[in-house]
Amino acid sequence: MTDTRADIPSVVARTRPLAAGAPVVAAHFLQETAVFVLGEEALLLLPRADEARRPTVHAGAVLSSAANATRVVTGGDDGKVVATDAEGKSTTVATDTGRRWIDHVAVGPSGALAWSAGKDAFVRASTGAARTLALPSTVGGLAFAPKGLRLAIAHYNGLTLWFPNALTEPERLAWKGSHLGALVSPDGRFVITSMQEPALHGWRLADRKDMRMSGYSARVRSLDFSVGGKWLATSGSRELILWPFQGKDGPMGKTPRVLAPAEVQAEVVASHPKQDVVAVGYADGLVLLVRIEDGAEILARKGTGAPIAALAWSASGTALAFGAEDGEAGVIDLG
């Protein structure tokens, strides 16, 4: 069964389609240029008013990516961390000495960069050499706090907060189970991890109070705070799940808002940078824009294909890039 959402407003006609020619695994924007990360070797850059170009960035699989306003940083199974700008110019930022896979990358404030290979996490401020922290198990995810040089590192049985410039020991937040992704709230008060089981875990950093967010039908592989951090949008269900983070207790003792039900799993979520709107990509290729306030939906792509693997908004919120597992991609102009 395919969900075409035939009766809702549509922006499908404003799509500039692109056949990536390879599975898309992530998407980012560098100003007005959409950047699609391909599963192997290359990026696909689509400037707003120009032809696409396809710089090669790794000799093998591209395992991870992150971006700030000026560059997309990727980690590969060739052991390299590579930064690429909007012109497609790539620089190798680091090469793992053991040529291990670069499983995760993150970009932080003021040009800071982090990556991980196996049980080692690395941080490099905009200047200076990289610092290393050995973790008790393989790193499951990395996220910078919004301010200062603080890195949240998810791993087995908890999360480590690392302050590379401070003399203090890294702080360990324990919670049993395997933590596979990390995210810090925009106000820096909460840190969230996605777990191996279909659940999220969170800690309020002020008092380290635990928060459990469960009820999912699948492992949560995509989570994103809405603008201003009022809501945490997540995949992992056949709906868009939104946990309330407005109050001082975050979602503790609250139930999530559940919007945009579909016949298949929501795979990717991406919050609009300026409005309380979330783009949701589903396992049948459907993409919806969902207004958090009232659940109103706009059709951005029909659900007639492969699972959506990537969604990204431009910084202005006027363009949405999507990419699917079968290499179908596009940019929707909402300006």
Binding site: D103, G177, L180, Q196, E197
Partner: protein, 344 residues
């Protein structure tokens, strides 16, 4: 839905010949490309740009269940390999000699992302004919690997006398009567016997059934060698096999032609694997439910069960329900009693 990539798991106690088998698989001119996950680089003598080192990180889940474990490194590695899936046809995973195959198998059931893209093809255990008897006494890991396997290579048969070999076979059968058993030297085996087995495919549960359930009750007196050798390759043994009952690891086979009540069966089997899950290594079965024209098949590893309606019963097909459990110190009488009570 694109085809899922098959994953073959090679197990075997230290020195049994896993690496020999792996090198054989990689070097034969079969026209396939394999991605290989190994524990020790360097032992693999073949050039292959798709070799990945594993860490064997076993992660428990946060659900209070000690046997619900996954191989955390596999979640990461298979996801990474999938990004290059046009570059190879299958994945071969070599485990360490002391590894428990269960967390590997459970990874495919528990992690929906892995389960969607890859599937377990078979667990292959390589056993050293010269030392297996000793290992079954002193190494629980070795017995575990035999009990868990879909395919067993009794290797280095040139190092033991033929009567000793017959005894080893009987000991293996006492633990796991359902696996395909091959006797090899230097892991010399047709690769089709090891790869592409579909042993975890629910649709295939019946295909391996006639042998595996022909006489699965495990400790009868002097019956013939009913189990194995369906391929007719190596009929060395003259008389009937001796039959060993392993004190610790056994199988229990149940069958009935009476229709089963699903409302009784599911609570019973759920409860059974909840309580006995740590001891049940594997289970599988075919069920004929009351007022149901479709055959239901299921399989499980420890506490994790996976089942589905498979296809309509064919006209003239015998509607019989059959289940097997392989495990440690299984309470056979209690299991039989419980299953009997599921009859509609």
């Amino acid at each position: 839905m694109p085809d899922k990539l098959p994953v073959t798991v090679l197990t075997g106690y230290l020195g049994a010949g896993k690496t020999t088998l792996l090198n054989r698989i990689l070097s034969e001119p079969h026209g396939h490309k394999y991605a290989v996950i190994v524990n020790e680089f360097g032992e693999v003598g073949i050039d292959n740009d798709l070799i990945v080192g594993a860490d064997e990180e076993i992660f428990e889940m946060n659900n209070g269940c000690v046997c619900c474990t996954v191989r955390g490194d596999l979640v990461r590695i298979i996801d990474g390999l999938m990004r290059r899936k046009g570059k190879f046809d299958a994945i071969i995973l070599e485990t360490t000699g002391l590894a428990d195959p269960a967390p590997v198998a459970q990874t495919f059931f528990i992690d929906d992302n892995i389960g969607r893209k890859a599937k377990l093809d078979a667990v292959v255990a390589v056993a050293d004919a010269k030392w297996l008897k000793d290992r079954l006494k002193d190494a629980p890991e070795a017995k575990n690997q035999i009990a868990f396997a879909d395919v067993i290579l009794l290797n280095k048969t040139d190092l033991v006398a033929s009567d000793e070999l017959g005894e080893l076979e009987a000991r293996i059968r006492g633990i796991n009567p359902y696996a395909k058993l091959h006797k090899t030297q230097r892991c010399n085996i047709a690769l089709l016997e090891v790869l592409g087995r579909n042993a975890f495919d629910l649709d295939r549960i019946l295909d391996i059934e006639p042998e595996f359930l022909a006489d699965a009750t495990h400790h009868h007196q002097d019956h013939d060698h009913h189990h194995e050798h369906e391929d007719g390759h190596h009929h060395h043994h003259g008389g009937g096999l001796k039959h060993y009952h392993d004190e610790e690891m056994q199988s229990v086979s149940l069958k009935t032609v009476d229709p089963i009540d699903p409302d009784k069966f599911f609570p019973w089997v759920q409860d059974l694997v909840q309580k006995e899950g740590p001891n049940i290594l594997r289970c599988k079965g075919i069920l004929s439910f009351k007022d149901d024209d479709e055959r239901f098949v299921f399989q499980g590893v420890h506490m994790i069960l996976d089942g589905d309606h498979q296809r309509p019963w064919q006209p003239g097909e015998k509607r019989e329900s059959r289940i097997i459990f392989i495990g440690r110190n299984l309470p056979e009488a209690k299991i039989r009693e419980g299953f009997a009570a599921c009859v509609a």
